[in-house]
């Protein structure tokens, strides 16, 4: 039995790692989505965190945990500075601004020496182990679950439902948006830092526009209203190529089409994501008590 597990891990270890990292990043986006903000910059924050952590390890010889913290803080700081002007924007405009920001970061990474240019930062010691990723994930998930019941969590959800009404209940909209945005940025930065120490390198391609869209897809497919939704979505979409390979589908276009189809079916028929399948079975009264 143990041998089978070890074999399984040998083959699928990297997928398991990626599921963990992607789930962490998906959670980071969830904080802002929960407040009703469509932010597409979390991939860039992961990149910032990854590069910062990598540079701390490579150039400043910092221990792993310090590098991770440095990465998360860097991302958080940038998020704070970016959030203040940008979070006044509505809907699509916020999405565009965060997108533009992400692109500028990516292009900067491609062109700067300290980030290693287009080849990225290489030679980062692969210190990250699977259990570390999942420990961080468990911590983040627990944090997210508890957040919903806190003053911050209630404020975010109220804002998402109706901003004007929320403001008239005393909720400082911009403040909470910035807080949510910064927490998301830090979480993404942490994920990026772990990622950088996973495979020896981090490149600009690892956090471009399409990664940002992927994060959105994980959240939509899994469901944004409960803490395990993004994790579910990330797990499914990340594991999908392997699952498809298992049933004999290896062609790139078909895998892509399946991705798109899942997203389409979810948004059309299961708008609260796959997680809503599970939450549907909780009796309404119990939900009210738990609130």
């Amino acid at each position: 039995m143990l041998e089978q597990l070890a074999q399984f891990y040998a083959v699928y270890g990297s997928v398991i790692n990626f599921i963990g990292i992607n789930a962490l990043m998906a959670l980071s986006l969830n904080v802002t989505l929960a407040a009703g903000m469509l932010s597409l910059s979390n991939a860039a924050f992961a990149g910032l965190g990854g590069y910062a952590a990598g540079i701390l390890t490579l150039h400043f010889k910092m221990p792993y945990v310090v590098s991770l913290c440095g990465g998360a803080l860097t991302a958080g700081l940038v998020g704070l500075v970016l959030g203040l002007p940008v979070l006044r924007l509505r809907g699509v405009f916020l999405a565009m601004a965060t997108l533009a920001f992400g692109e500028v970061v990516r292009i900067a990474a491609v062109n700067l020496d300290i980030t290693g240019g287009a080849e990225g930062l290489t030679g980062i010691p692969n210190v990250t182990k699977t259990w570390m990723i999942y420990l961080a994930l468990a911590g983040a998930a627990y944090f997210m679950a508890v957040l919903r019941r806190s003053r911050l969590g209630w404020a975010l959800v109220s804002m998402r439902e109706d901003e004007t009404a929320a403001a008239c209940l005393g909720i400082h909209i911009t403040y909470y948006k910035v807080v949510a945005f910064t927490i998301g940025a830090m979480l993404a930065g942490l994920a990026g830092g772990m990622y950088a120490h996973l495979n020896y390198l981090i490149t600009p391609r690892d956090f471009g526009f399409f990664i940002a869209v992927d994060l959105l897809i994980y959240n939509i497919v899994g469901g944004t209203r409960i803490w395990y939704g993004p994790i579910l979505g990330a797990a499914l979409i990340t594991a999908l190529p392997e699952i498809l390979r298992g049933v004999g589908v290896t062609a790139g276009p078909i895998r892509m089409a399946v991705n798109g189809l899942i997203l389409l079916l979810v948004i059309l028929f299961l708008p609260n994501g796959l997680a809503s399948i599970f939450t549907r079975f909780r009796p309404a009264a119990a939900k009210a008590e738990a609130a």
């Binding site: 469509l38 002007p85 940008v86 006044r88 924007l89 509505r90 809907g91 699509v92 405009f93 999405a95 565009m96 601004a97 997108l99 533009a100 920001f101 692109e103 500028v104 292009i107 900067a108 491609v110 062109n111 901003e163 004007t164 909209i173 526009f209 399409f210 869209v213 959105l216 897809i217 939509i220 062609a251 790139g252 276009p253 078909i254 892509m256 089409a257 991705n259 798109g260 189809l261 997203l263 389409l264 948004i267 059309l268 708008p271």
Partner: protein, 296 residues
Amino acid sequence: MNLLAQQLVNGLFIGSVYGLFAVGYTLVFGVLDILNLAHAAVFTLGGLIALWLVQAGGLSIWLAFPLATLFAGLLGLLLNQVAFVPLRKRADSQFSGLISSIAMAIIFEAVALGLFGARSVRFPQGTVSVHIWHIAGVTITSLQVGIVLVATLLMLVLTFFIQRTRTGKAIRTVAENERAAMLLGVNVNGIIAFTFFISSALGGAAGILYGLYFDSLAPDMGRSIELKGLAVIILGGMGSIPGAILGGLAFGLSEVLTVAISGTSNLRDAVAFTVLFAILLIRPSGLLGRGKTREA
């Protein structure tokens, strides 16, 4: 000085293609308040279908172009029917529409990948006969002129259509206030479908022109223009057709000039996105746009 003039001319050419692409984007946004992120995928398929018609079907480009454009328009109808119509009654239809357009974009790109393979292809030699002119020290090819003329013609026809015809008026009414339009007896659903048809047709046309201009087509060619198209419509003002046209030209010019001034193409996109970012912060409604951009 000649170099500058040459850059301006180049910028104008690529700018007209950007403008054509952006017009489709902004048309749908103006009418439905939805960002159709599948527009770039239709752009790609339009170009690839035209190529297929020329290469495999042996048609002349003069026939392939309108046919492929028509096909792109039909894709737009499909897009509307599958991805947007089911979501119209929802409270968050703006957001869910965005998501379903992403889904359709992925599906369309997968189709393109499956049918045409991943390598980039090009229109066969002799698809268009190219003459080269030297005017006032500037080099212009007949292909470039043709592209500008076609793009400009399409944009002018669209503008005329929107401003002067009854259907165009109906489109503007729906864009202004859907409920009022319905009460006035406008067939809102039909107008929306028609808008998608036109928007996607123009997007497909832009794809064909783009493929001709750069002499290269690939299933992922929509990716680079997708972001640029968004930048253009923000710049020009979302929902404004003249804005999209002007924005496209401005964008094309700035791109070309950035490369010329910095000597490298690396910073080209960075400048564009920084400008976009600045505009969103300072004047989110863009140069000519309308519509709310801040929260109530």
